[in-house]
C-alpha cells in the first residue's frame, strides 16, 4: 500500500489482483447483476487510486478502505442510474468441468443470494458478506465497520433474518434445502 501511494504502479496492480474478487462479490451483492458488478469494480478501483494520496494507515486492513470506497461508489452509481435488478446476466464460473449438475445448482444459488442481498440494507448486506462470504471474525468486522463485536453478532442475526425474508418473498428459499446441517461461521 505504501509503495502504491508512493507512485509504484506495480504495487497498485498487486493490490488489484489481491482484492478484485472480494470487491466483485461485494459489487455483485450490491447490484445483483454481473455486468453492473464489473462496472462497479472498475469504479471502485479507480476511486481507490484517486484516493491513494488521502489514504491514512489507521491500523485497519486495506480491504476496509476498499469497502468504504465501494459503498460510496455504489451509492453514487445508484443515484445516477436505477440499479438493474435483473439477474439474468449473472454468470457462472464453474469450479470444475466435471460436476456440471452441482455447478448449475451453485449458479442458481448465487443468483438467488445476490438478488436477495441487493435488496437489503447496506449494513445487513455488509455484515453478511464480511462474516459468511469473506470469513472475517466478528471482532475484525467490528473494527472495519466501527461496531463492537456484540453489535456485529446482533446485526448478523438480524441480517440473516432479513435475508430469509427476502428469499421467501422471491420464492427462492427451497433452493437452499441442501444446506441442512451446515455449521455457522464463528
Amino acid at each position: 500500500m505504501r509503495a502504491a501511494k508512493a507512485g509504484d504502479a506495480s504495487a497498485f496492480g498487486q493490490l488489484y489482483e489481491r482484492y478484485r474478487d472480494v470487491m466483485y462479490r461485494y459489487c455483485l451483492a450490491r447490484t445483483g447483476g454481473a455486468h453492473d458488478a464489473e462496472d462497479l469494480v472498475a469504479d471502485v478501483f479507480l476511486r481507490a487510486m484517486q484516493a491513494l494520496d488521502r489514504y491514512e494507515d489507521r491500523g485497519l486492513p486495506f480491504v476496509a478502505f476498499l469497502y468504504r470506497v465501494a459503498r460510496n461508489a455504489a451509492v453514487d452509481r445508484a443515484r445516477r442510474k436505477r440499479p438493474d435488478m435483473s439477474i439474468e446476466d449473472l454468470p457462472t464460473h464453474p469450479d470444475s468441468g466435471q460436476n456440471v449438475e452441482a455447478e448449475a445448482f451453485r449458479a442458481l444459488e448465487r443468483r438467488a443470494l445476490a438478488a436477495a442481498l441487493s435488496r437489503m440494507k447496506e449494513e445487513y448486506r455488509e455484515v453478511l458478506l464480511l462474516r459468511f462470504v469473506e470469513g472475517y471474525p466478528a471482532a475484525d468486522v467490528g473494527r472495519m465497520t466501527g461496531r463492537s463485536e456484540g453489535a456485529v453478532r446482533t446485526f448478523q442475526h438480524r441480517a440473516l433474518g432479513r435475508l430469509r425474508t427476502e428469499l421467501e418473498k422471491a420464492g427462492e428459499l427451497r433452493t437452499f434445502d441442501r444446506w441442512a446441517g451446515t455449521e455457522v461461521a464463528e
Binding site: G7, A9, F12, G13, Y16, R20, D21, M23, Y24, R25, L28, A29, E38, V41, A42, F45, L46, M49, Q50, P91, H93, D95, R106, E109, R110, L113, A114, L128, L129, R131, F132, V133, E134, G135, H157, L160, G161, L163, R164, L173, F176, D177, W179, A180, G181, T182, E183, V184, A185
Partner: protein, 304 residues
C-alpha cells in the same frame, strides 16, 4: 431454514469471481488512469513561484489592456475609473492638477479622433470622460482669492477679439477691456452690454477657453505665447514658454487654456509670437467675461 443453514448457504458466493475478460478491461482502465494521474504530478512539481508569476503576468496584462482601452472598448469604463482613482496618488497639488489636465487633454483628443472617424457612440463616452476630468479639475483647482474685478467698468459678456497693433497698457490680469476703444474686425454686432454682478463670494472654478489664433496673413499661428499680461518676447527665444509671463504656448492655431476664474470676472488674454524670419513680434489679445466653465474666443488675428 435456520440461521446456520442460511449462513452456510452464503458461502456459495465465495465461488463468485471476476472473470478474466472483465478483469482485463478493468486493468486496462486502471493503467490508463494511472498514467493520467502521473501527468498532473509532474505539473505540480513546477517551482512554487511559477503560478505566482503566471498570476502576476495575467494581472499585468489585464491592467495594461485596461489602461490602453479606447473609448470603443468594453474596458474603457474601467480605465476611466482607474485613471480617476489615480488622482488621489498625486499628493502635490500642482502634480495633481497637471495629471488631471493630461487626462482632460487625452480624453479631448480621443473624443475628437473618434468623432473624426464617425464613431459617435465611443466619442460620446470619451466626451463624458472629458466632462468627468473637467469636474475633477474644477474640484481640485485652488480656490485662491484673485484680485477683485470690481470696480468693473461696463464689459461685454461676449468675447471681444481684437487685433492689436500695439498692446494695451501693461496691467495685471485679470483686467477689464482697456479704456481705449479698439477697432474691432469684424465689427462687433453690438453685443448686449452687461454689468457683471458677481455674487458677494463668487466661487472660483476652472474655465476652459477655446479659440483659434491666426497670423496677419491668415495662416495658423504656432508657438504663440499666451499670458494674462503683455510680455516682451526675446528675439532669440521664439518659444513663448521661455519668456517670463507666458502660462502656456498655443500651437497649430488652436488655443485651449484652462484658467481659474469666478463667474462674472472679465479676463484679457494676450497673445504674442516672435517671428524669427522677419524679426517681428506679432501680438493680439481678447477679452471675455466668464459666464460658465467654457468660453469660446472665436478666432484671434495677430497683428504687428
Amino acid at each position: 431454514m435456520t440461521d446456520e443453514k442460511l449462513a452456510g448457504a452464503l458461502g456459495v458466493l465465495r465461488t463468485a469471481r471476476l472473470n478474466e475478460a472483465a478483469s482485463a478491461r478493468v486493468r486496462e482502465q486502471l493503467e490508463r488512469a494511472w498514467q493520467d494521474r502521473a501527468t498532473p504530478r509532474r505539473r505540480i512539481s513546477l517551482p512554487w513561484f511559477v503560478p505566482s508569476i503566471a498570476v502576476a503576468v495575467l494581472f499585468l496584462a489585464v491592467g495594461l489592456a485596461t489602461l490602453r482601452a479606447g473609448a470603443d472598448s468594453a474596458l474603457y469604463g474601467a480605465r476611466i475609473a482607474v485613471e480617476d482613482a489615480l488622482v488621489a496618488l498625486h499628493t502635490d497639488l500642482d502634480d495633481r492638477l497637471d495629471y488631471i489636465r493630461e487626462l482632460y487633454d487625452e480624453r479631448t483628443e480621443e473624443a475628437a479622433r473618434l468623432e473624426a472617424v464617425g464613431n459617435a457612440l465611443a466619442a460620446g463616452r470619451a466626451r463624458a470622460a472629458q466632462d468627468d476630468a473637467l469636474r475633477l479639475l474644477n474640484a481640485t483647482a485652488p480656490k485662491a482669492q484673485e484680485p477683485s474685478p470690481s470696480p468693473t467698468p461696463e464689459t461685454s459678456s461676449a468675447p471681444v477679439v481684437l487685433p492689436s497693433p500695439t498692446p494695451p497698457a501693461m496691467t495685471v490680469a485679470p483686467t477689464t477691456v482697456p479704456a481705449r476703444t479698439p477697432t474691432v474686425t469684424p465689427p462687433p454686432t453690438a453685443p448686449p452690454v452687461t454689468k457683471p454682478t458677481p455674487s458677494p463670494t463668487p466661487t472660483t472654478f476652472v474655465v476652459t477657453v477655446r479659440g483659434g489664433i491666426v497670423n496677419p496673413d491668415g495662416s495658423l499661428a504656432n508657438d504663440v505665447c499666451v499670458s494674462t499680461a503683455p510680455v516682451a518676447l526675446a528675439p532669440l527665444a521664439p518659444t513663448a514658454l521661455t519668456t517670463t509671463g507666458c502660462f502656456m504656448t498655443a500651437t497649430g492655431g488652436s488655443l485651449t487654456a484652462r484658467i481659474p476664474a469666478r463667474k462674472g470676472q472679465t479676463i484679457t488674454l494676450y497673445f504674442s509670437r516672435y517671428d524669427a524670419a522677419t524679426g517681428k513680434t506679432f501680438r493680439g489679445y481678447a477679452t471675455f467675461t466668464v459666464t460658465g466653465p467654457n468660453v469660446s474666443l472665436g478666432v484671434v488675428r495677430l497683428g504687428v
